[in-house]
């Protein structure tokens, strides 16, 4: 039995003259949680909606459990209702003219299940999101967070194998969002579902995914585990969009050596086999120490500015590499004007492919 649940190949989607998705390919394994991450307009939502059958691509193919759902060559496009996937919408799409129970029961009723089974399944789903006590409430009388839970319960109630999430947390306030993130991860583990999740929030993407697909202007920039994406960004876009990084320009001198424009030689690593034409390295702001550490890249600098953020302190440091941003734990604060030595290992000085 294949371990691939969803396979997307060379997908192209156009709206009139604009190409929203331009040749995207990836696979999602059984029980895997993959996130499409990118800025608005990068084609992530369009890709997700085409998996659901809500957008019609112009080229490529989409296969779920070995069955072609869309295939441009075979002119095959299975309608949304026959694909057997489930989806949580950004606007929740909780039907205001039904009760919470009716909303959650919808997918089960479509599948003509018995009343007793429906009741049991709905209650199980509502228990998962702690909403059972509100089953009889009209859906129009729910708060945003409650609607979100109903949408979640509805999406899993009919035991789908694949659930698609379209920025489900973006309409919640920051605190609730953080809580729901934890619950969502918990739910994914418990239900053994395969999910594709879309978000523009890099923190959310890193926190809840097994693998992250970073997209930009209709193409995939990088696919990898959250750690790979964070520690070995492949491109300037990924380094910049995911987490915070200092980008330093220069020239790759071969053999793990990178010469900056300011003439400083750094030890660097690459996630790819270097081709010699690289012109930039990325250094994560969290990986720079302000005390000399033996065996690492060391650069002298002066504290220009200190911003106290609470959970961390952000320094702007003037150095031969340019003005670098450094984030440290909020202890042993340095004053503005203090002389420091920037230290970071070669592991954390990542050569960018382009």
């Amino acid at each position: 039995m294949s371990t691939t649940r969803i396979e997307v190949r060379d997908l192209v989607i156009r709206y009139g003259d604009t190409t929203a998705v331009n040749g995207v390919s990836f696979t999602v394994g059984r029980g895997e949680h993959v996130t499409l991450l990118g800025p608005s307009g990068c084609g992530k939502t369009t890709t997700l909606r085409s998996i659901a059958g809500l957008e019609q691509p112009v080229a490529g193919s989409i296969t779920i459990d070995g069955q072609a759902m869309y295939d441009a060559k075979a002119r095959r496009n299975v309608p949304a209702e026959q694909r057997g996937v489930s989806m949580v919408f950004q606007s929740y799409a909780v039907w205001p003219h039904m009760t919470v129970f009716d909303n959650v029961a919808y997918g089960l009723r479509v599948r003509r299940q018995g009343a007793a089974e429906i009741k049991a399944a709905v209650e199980r789903a509502l228990d998962l999101v702690q909403m059972r006590h509100l089953a009889d409430r009209p859906a129009s009388k729910l708060s945003g967070g409650q609607q979100q839970r109903v949408a979640l319960a509805r999406a899993v109630a009919f035991s789908p194998t694949v659930v698609l999430f379209d920025e489900p947390l973006s309409n919640l306030d920051a605190k609730l969002r953080a809580e729901m993130r934890v619950e969502l991860r918990e739910l994914q583990r418990r239900l053994d579902i395969t999910s594709v999740y879309v978000t523009h929030d890099q923190e959310e993407a890193l926190a809840i995914s097994d693998r992250v697909i970073v997209m930009n202007v209709g193409v995939i920039e990088q696919i990898g585990t959250p750690e790979q994406i964070y520690n070995r960004p492949r491109s300037r876009f990924v380094a910049d969009f995911v987490g915070s990084a200092n980008l330093v320009k220069g020239r790759y001198a071969g053999d793990g050596r990178f010469e900056t424009e300011g003439g400083v030689a750094l030890q660097a690593v690459a996630g790819h086999a270097p081709h010699g034409g690289e012109t930039e390295v990325a250094i994560r702001t969290a990986y720079i120490d302000l005390e000399p550490r033996a065996g690492e890249n060391q650069v002298p600098g002066t504290v220009r500015q200190r911003l106290f953020h609470g959970d961390f302190v952000q320094y702007v440091i003037d150095s031969p590499l340019g003005a670098l941003i450094v984030r440290r734990p909020p202890v042993d604060l340095l004053d503005e004007g203090a002389a420091v030595t920037l230290s970071f290992s070669a592991e954390h000085c990542v050569l960018l492919e382009r």
Binding site: A52, G53, L54, A68, D71, A74, R75, R76, N77, V78, P79, A80, E81, Q82, R83, G84, V85, S86, M87, F89, Q90, S91, A93, W95, P96, H97, Y106, G107, V110, R111, S140, R154, F158, L164
Partner: protein, 568 residues
């Protein structure tokens, strides 16, 4: 399997193309064809009854500026006076209800809608009863108090403009208050913070920002006034003051009817109105006015202190003049043998209502209007719901063209459209002229913009993902329609039904041309009763019509309140 679904995609595309073409043809036939006939008639300089015309020329157009120059002058004078008054009313009410802490604001806002539902026809009749020379109630009281002569005379340019302004004022109010509501109060507040006084803020920030909205409303109202018919018909014709709409009507009454002349005037009116409305839309959509963002703000109302009660009285005065006084006057008239306001001389009777309800022609006219209302509203709502779904929810190619066609009748003065339909159906070899079928067809066509706009408002409010979610949950198209789309649309469909029903029962402009001796409807019958029988009987008929509309209106308010509650 693969081949089969490939063929299915192809089949669906073909099917969609057929639907589009069929719709374009049917709507085009209903909407565009009459206008083509009208253009042809206007260029006819031979025998006015011949079809196709024997000779073409521009004589009919020149005649407007030659023989009917006084008609143009009357139209202009009355439209300008009426527009100025309507905008004054609208601006004052809008400012009071959006910018001040007037007591009972929510209730007042609801009351401001009432004049819109009172027909201008009923309003004109009532004001003829109130302010007619000698026998008018105002003048009776004036004499009763020992003065001589008349204090008020409605049969003047100003009188016609007054009635028109009173009923268009509420339209101006809605438009101006929309632009006031959409203004970010932070724009004013920042002026205050910078040190500007209340007055300076008003002059340098508020007024310039609201001005485009007021100008837009002025343009729109002026265009409406040029095409307005009812008041000019009821008050203008006895006073021998003809405006362009009544002149069009009049030239079809002469023998032989001068359709060429009428068509030329109608087209000229249409072109002017169409130009103004296009310019107006361009102003609104052009985005040059950033205040109209579509985002609703809750402006902090100014504290008016004791003045608030004065402003409250101003709002009440408007409702009194536009609704309460006219209805009271008609009621009083309809219940007497001879209308008088000096109650000691009054002879009260139910006879007028008995006559109105037993008189054969009146009864059939009323029954016909109700039947048309039910029929057109029921069939119309179904067809329009399909149109709305195609225009705003499908991916059908050519849906923009369908939308344009469907909205087109809204840009043609009702009367001109009636004339166009008359000429078209006199010459199309389908014998429905003079029957209720033609009236039904005409009502459906002229109600298209109203119905489609109402339904579209509801459809666009419904988030698309509500439907998509049903599909993803496994529901087919039919099941999704039955369980999600239609239940959500239900209140909107009901509201559209009631609005179309009301509009049919009060329809005048198209009906006057299309009514036949065996297919009479109520509004034109009221007008002819006013011209031939007594005011008392006319008042009774007008009130019966108004009562029908009020019943529909009460249901509408019930329903729409339900809509807002459900969707909020």
């Amino acid at each position: 399997m693969t081949l089969a679904s490939g063929a299915a995609v192809q089949r669906r595309r073909n099917w969609q193309a057929i639907v589009t073409v069929a719709l374009l043809l049917v709507v085009g036939f209903l909407v565009v064809l009459p206008m083509v006939f009208l253009v042809e008639a206007s260029l006819n300089v031979g025998d006015p009854l011949a079809f196709p015309p024997e000779a073409y020329g521009l004589k009919n157009y020149f005649a407007i500026f030659d023989e009917d120059i006084n008609v143009l002058w009357n139209t202009l004078v009355i439209a300008v006076m009426a527009t100025v008054m309507a905008i004054l009313i609208g601006f004052t009410l809008a400012w009071i209800l959006t910018r001040t802490n007037v007591p009972g604001r929510a209730l007042l806002e609801r009351l401001m809608e009432l004049p819109y539902y009172m027909t201008p026809l009923v309003g004109a009749l009532a004001w003829a009863v109130l302010a007619g020379p000698r026998s008018g109630f105002v003048n009776q009281l004036w004499k009763g108090m020992g003065f001589s002569g008349d204090i008020a005379d409605i049969y003047t340019h100003f009188g016609i403009a007054w009635v028109m302004a009173l009923f268009e004022g509420t339209v101006a109010f809605v438009m101006i208050s929309a632009s006031m509501k959409s203004m970010d109060p932070a724009l004013e507040e920042s002026a205050r913070v910078m040190g500007a006084s209340k007055l300076r803020t008003m002059l340098t920030v508020t007024l310039p920002l609201v001005m485009p909205g007021v100008l837009g409303a002025t343009l729109f109202v002026f265009a409406e006034m040029l095409g307005s018919f009812a008041a000019a018909l009821v008050i203008g014709i006895p006073a021998r003051i003809y405006v362009i709409t009544t002149a069009i009507w009049d030239s079809t009454l002469s023998y032989p009817p001068d359709y060429g002349r009428a068509s030329a005037m109608g087209l000229a009116l249409f072109v002017v109105m169409f130009g103004m409305l296009t310019f107006y839309r361009h102003m609104i959509v052009g985005g040059s006015f950033a205040t109209i963002t579509g985002k609703a703000f809750r402006p902090r109302p100014m504290d008016m202190g004791r003045m608030a009660w004065v402003l409250f009285a101003v709002c009440c005065l408007y409702v009194f003049l536009a609704v309460i006084l006219p209805v009271a006057a008609l009621l009083l008239t309809s219940l007497q043998r001879f209308a008088t306001v000096i109650l000691s001389q009054a002879e009260f009777t139910w006879a007028n209502y008995q006559t109105a309800l037993s008189l054969g022609p009146v009864r059939t006219a009323m029954a016909n209007s109700l039947m048309l209302g039910f029929g057109v509203a029921t069939v119309g709502v179904i067809v329009m719901a399909v149109l709305v779904w195609i225009i705003y929810r499908s991916t059908l190619r050519g849906r923009g063209a369908i939308e344009y066609l469907v909205m087109f009748p809204g840009a043609v003065p009702r009367l001109v459209f009636g004339l166009a339909l008359l000429w078209a159906w006199l010459n199309i070899p389908i014998p429905i002229y003079g029957t209720l079928w033609l009236l039904a067809l005409a009502y459906f066509t002229v109600m298209l913009p109203l119905g489609v706009r109402t339904l579209a408002g509801v459809v666009l409010q419904i988030d698309k993902s509500l439907e998509e979610c049903a599909r993803v949950c496994g529901a087919g198209w039919g099941y999704q329609m039955r369980t999600v789309t239609l239940p959500l649309l239900k209140p909107g469909i009901l509201a559209a039904w009631l609005l179309i029903f009301m509009a049919c029962v009060r329809e005048l402009g198209a009906s006057v041309f299309l009514m036949g001796p065996n297919a009479k409807v109520i509004a034109p019958s009221i007008v002819s009763a006013f011209a031939s029988s007594g005011t008392e009987l006319t008042a009774a008929m007008a009130l019966i019509q108004t009562f029908t509309v009020i019943v529909a209106l009460v249901i509408l308010f019930r329903v729409t309140r339900g809509v807002t509650r459900e969707l909020s």
